[in-house]
């Protein structure tokens, strides 16, 4: 257990993008494309850059924070035809470790927000 906690702590603090991905996956399995869209809608604008996003996604998978599950290409209708062709869509879901890490990070942020100094800061605004 202590070993597990060490592993979790090592990932903290998370980059905003990583936390975004983990939070989005907390709602269930998703594929990369819809992750981008959701995060973009929540944050506004097109801040998400493909290479950065997929590199992070791959890193998360390789570190075991998320798991990959295969789905069917036919699920997707909103795609231009020539690109949807012959593609097996990858789905991702939160792994137990990923869930722990996300939880730890949210707790950490929460602790920050309830800090009296942070409240003062928020009030002042």
């Amino acid at each position: 257990m202590t070993q597990d906690r060490d592993r979790v702590d090592r990932f903290l603090p998370l980059k905003p993008l990583v936390l975004d991905v983990l939070l989005a996956l907390a709602g269930g399995k998703r594929h990369g494309w819809s992750l981008i869209r959701e995060i973009q809608q929540r944050d506004g604008g097109d801040r998400i850059l493909p290479a950065n996003f997929y590199r992070s996604l791959r890193a998360l998978r390789d570190e075991g924070l998320i798991d990959e599950v295969r789905g069917e290409a036919t699920d997707d209708r909103g795609e231009p035809l020539e690109l949807a062709r012959d593609r097996r869509r990858q789905y991702f879901e939160l792994s137990p470790l990923g869930a722990k890490v996300a939880r730890a990070e949210v707790k950490r942020l929460e602790a920050l927000v309830v800090d009296p100094r942070a409240r003062k800061l928020l009030k002042a605004r």
Binding site: D46, L57, R58, P80, Q90
Partner: protein, 884 residues
């Protein structure tokens, strides 16, 4: 949109292939979506962001993969940046291990590269100092040197007469400052040992031309170059340090120069150097007509000037040509055919060493090439054993570029170690080269630490590392891992063999060029030495004495002193012969006078009538072993008899075209009395063994008294034992006179060909080095080939091939390589050696003797190098060979 998509798709190649395969399509979609959502200029912003994203994270993703591969501990760091440094460190570590694994090969490679890089760095340092760097003066491009030219005689760089200088200074408007200078020497007496110092006599404007200010005190003020105000002196920094302890209070005090008090008015900054000998101190020159130096007919000044801002050198030339024509019209006797020759100062200052430096640059470049080929060959041979290593690494997933980079890091490391060692070679080389450079451009060892030289050396290291590594690395990486693993470490022979064959041919060709270059300089050096000098230099000691005006006021006292000194020295039992002359052959400093020859009609094509007079004691001609071809030599009786002269053959031919010169009459323009020609001497190579001879006249000292004379003493005794005796004689006559330039005449002669000898020695050692490298290269390749073909040779011997035939085949192969290389080299030398013409003497660049002997000796060395592998091939034991 289609175009944008396909453009983005091609940019996706920045990402590693597996990443691209997995996410490429989705990334493309994401990009397309954000592009579709943007309007107008925002599209550009989207593009720019996407580009940055791909560069940063696409290439970054490559590194992610590598890091995972390395991190076997499972420990993961979230750290960005520095990834390439990390791999580089790894490569470096691996390279160090690989180098340490083959110490002998590595040492040879490092040693070869150290020699090549060192030689190149040293020569580049000299080239940088002399040819590339700007002169250390204010606006150096505006500086010019002005010569007197006489196109009819083919003379363009003559010294200038005082009258011409003064006319130019007065009439020209192109120059902001113009100055004249001449090399001189003064005796510094008074405090401590009397010392003869090189000095420069300069007009007051001299330092203004260069824009040099004094470190302490001041330089000359206008008007200080006139009689009465000229007892002032400016000290060079080194002299000030050595002789006066670097004491600034010296300014204002008085020192004794030639026994005349001179006030020190200034000290120059440490780096101030001028294109006028190696002057230790500067005194004003007074350009007033004297009987000995008629102002327009004798030429001895160096003239420098600074162009006015905005005036081009062509404008200055045009103006000076106009002035020259006016002067010609004004002084038809003395100035006919004279003009001025205005040239930029910077190249003028190094023209003496320019061709030497260029030839040396070419030579070291070839050394570099040969070293590169040898190292490549060596690495090709040594990597043969590493095929398996590379195959294994490729098989477990190392990419081709990765392996290539690994190999290149390895050779670059070798080259860098070689380069560091090469700095030591360069340190020594710079000091060697410095001995041959003019004082204004003498490279100091510290030049090695200057930015351009460091960059050059670093560049040479990196380049040679990459060049030496690229072929072996490409070869190694290019081979198919599967085959390499199957073959169990043996290399595919055919490609390697063709490659190495080509390399050896190139190496032989380069060596041929170096050998031809060295051979040509060697031959022309021999040619120079074989020139009859007209004098004998063996067993002779020479030294110079200048009498100070303060104590020797009259011309008679000069003749009296030197005559007496010669007589006293002649009485020494060890001394065979002794003589004195105002100009010693093969040493610089030589005035030329306009003369009048009785009965000589100067044609329109002829140059001015002039000759070089030498005041001599009667014993001089025999003391230097000169030969009289007609008439008689000078004798004691001539000292106080009627005015006579002995002339050289060149002068006799030029001015007495028909018949004998004996009995003819000649006088110097400034004199009134005619002199009778009583003898004609054989020509002496006064201006250098490789320089043409001009008209010379030998006049008895009493009839042409000179203040400074060279003594020549012939003796069987060793020079060292003679010097104290001679010094004693001088001291007895005058205790305050220094002897300067005490040297054997042989040494004087050797110095006159010093640069030639130096170039020859350097080129010869380069050529020997090249020959050794080439021989080692041929040997290495042939030995390796024989060892690779041992099984094949074994089969052939078993099937009945004669051992002799096997040997002949190996020999033939070596001879073929050498032969092709030789032919290419010789062919190239026909064109390339034309650049050597400037430093050759007496032979053509296509000298058949040189080319022939180079060919023969190179072939012999090549065959010798192949002989050992050939004999080994012949002695292959079929049984053992087949068992392998």
């Amino acid at each position: 949109m289609r175009i944008s998509r396909s453009l983005y798709r091609s940019l996706l190649r920045l990402c590693p292939p597996d990443f691209r395969a997995e996410f490429g399509a989705e990334m493309e979609d994401a990009f397309a979506a954000s592009l579709a959502g943007a309007r107008g200029v925002h599209k550009i912003a989207v593009w720019l962001r996407a580009l940055g994203d791909l560069v940063r994270h696409g290439t970054g993703a490559r590194h992610d993969a590598w890091r995972r591969f390395r991190n076997t501990s499972g420990h993961v760091e979230y750290r960005s940046g520095g990834w390439w440094m990390d791999t580089f460190r790894h490569d470096l570590r691996h390279a160090a291990r690989a180098i340490a694994r083959q110490p002998v090969t590595s040492m040879i490679v490092i040693f070869t590269l150290a020699l090549a890089i060192g030689a190149n760095t040293a020569v580049f340092s000299a080239v940088h100092t002399a040819l590339l760097r700007q002169l250390p003066y204010i606006e150096p491009d505006a500086l010019v040197q002005i010569y007197e030219k006489r196109p009819a005689e083919g003379v363009f760089t003559n010294s200038v007469s005082p009258a011409d200088y003064q006319d130019w200074a007065q009439l020209s408007t192109s120059f902001s400052v113009i100055a004249a200078a001449l090399e001189s020497a003064v005796d510094l007496t008074g405090s401590g040992e009397p010392e003869r110092l090189n000095a420069a006599s300069v007009t007051a404007s001299f330092f203004d031309v260069f824009g040099v200010r004094a470190l302490h005190g001041r330089t000359f003020a206008a008007g200080e170059d006139t009689t009465g105000r000229n007892r002032v002196v400016v000290l060079e920094h080194g002299l000030w340090q050595q002789r006066f302890g670097g004491d600034p209070s010296i300014v204002g005090s008085t020192i004794q120069l030639n026994d005349i008090p001179n006030q020190v008015i200034g000290v120059l900054p440490p780096d101030a150097r001028f294109p006028i000998g190696e002057a230790r101190l500067f005194v004003p020159v007074v350009l007033q007509p004297t009987p000995e130096r008629p102002p327009r007919a004798s030429h001895y000044l160096t003239v420098v000037a600074r162009l006015k801002p905005g005036v081009a050198i062509e404008q200055a030339r045009a103006e000076m040509d106009r002035i020259g024509r006016d002067l010609e019209a004004q002084y038809p006797d003395l100035s006919r055919g004279h003009g001025s020759h205005v040239v930029p100062l910077a190249p003028e200052m190094v023209k003496g060493v320019r061709s030497m430096l260029l030839v040396l640059s070419a030579a070291v470049a070839f050394i570099m090439l040969i070293a590169w080929i040898n190292v490549t060959n060596l690495l090709l041979a040594s990597t043969a054993g590493r095929n398996r290593e590379m195959a294994v690494r490729a098989a477990i997933g190392a990419g081709r570029t990765r392996l290539l980079r690994q190999m290149l890091v390895e050779t670059s490391l070798l080259a860098t170690i070689g380069g560091v060692a090469g700095m030591l070679v360069a340190y020594w080389g710079v000091q060697l080269l410095a001995t041959q450079m003019p004082p204004t451009h003498r490279p100091h060892a510290s030049v090695l630490m200057s930015m351009p030289v460091l960059l050059f050396t670093a560049g040479a290291c990196v380049l040679s590392g990459l060049l030496a590594g690229i072929l072996p690395a490409w070869h190694l990486v290019g081979s198919d891992p599967a085959t390499a693993l199957k073959e169990g470490g043996r290399s595919p022979v055919a490609l390697r063999r063709r490659l190495r064959f080509g390399l050896i041919v190139a190496e032989i060709a380069c060596t041929t060029l170096l050998l031809v270059g060295a051979g040509l300089t060697l031959r022309s050096f021999r040619q120079v030495l074989m020139e009859p000098a007209g004098i004998e230099t063996a067993e002779r000691l020479t030294f110079n004495i200048r009498l100070p005006r303060a104590r020797y006021a009259t011309p008679e006292s000069f003749a009296q002193f030197f005559g007496e000194l010669a007589r006293r020295i002649a009485d020494e039992p060890a001394v065979r012969r002794v003589g004195a002359t105002s100009s010693l052959p093969l040493t610089p400093g030589d005035p030329r006078y306009g003369i009048v020859v009785d009965g000589y009609e100067r044609g329109p094509e002829d140059g001015p009538t002039r000759a070089h007079p030498r005041a001599v004691t009667p014993g001089y001609l025999s003391a230097v072993g000169m030969r009289i071809v007609e008439g008689r030599a000078l004798s004691d009786a001539d000292r106080h008899g009627p005015k006579v002269v002995v002339i050289n053959e060149t002068m006799a031919r030029r001015y007495w075209r028909s018949g004998s010169a004996l009995g003819g009459r000649v006088r110097m323009s400034a004199e009134q009395d005619w002199r009778e020609v009583v003898g004609v001497s054989a020509d002496v190579k006064h201006w250098g063994l490789d320089a043409p001879v001009a008209a010379e006249m030998y006049i008895p000292l009493e009839q042409f008294p000179q203040q400074a004379m060279w003594m020549v003493v012939e003796s069987a005794a060793t020079p060292a034992s003679l010097v104290p005796v001679l010094t004693q004689h001088v001291r007895q006559l005058d205790p305050n006179l220094p002897l300067s330039n005490v040297r054997t005449f042989d040494d004087v002669a050797a110095r006159s060909v010093g640069q030639r000898r130096f170039t020859m020695m350097l080129l010869a050692s380069f050529a020997v080095l090249a020959l050794v490298l080439a021989a080692a290269g041929i040997y290495g390749v042939m030995a390796h080939l024989v060892s690779l073909r041992t099984p094949e040779i074994g089969v052939r011997l078993t099937l009945g091939a004669r051992p002799g035939a096997v040997m002949r085949q190996v020999l033939g192969e070596g001879a073929l390589q050498a032969g092709i290389g030789l032919i290419i080299g010789l062919a190239a030398s026909f064109t390339l050696m034309r650049g050597m013409r400037a430093i050759l003497f007496g032979i053509e660049p296509t000298d058949p003797v040189t080319l022939g002997s180079v060919g023969v000796s190179l072939m012999l060395v090549a065959l010798l190098a192949v002989l050992v592998p050939a004999v080994r091939a012949m002695r292959v034991d079929p049984i053992t060979a087949l068992r392998q």
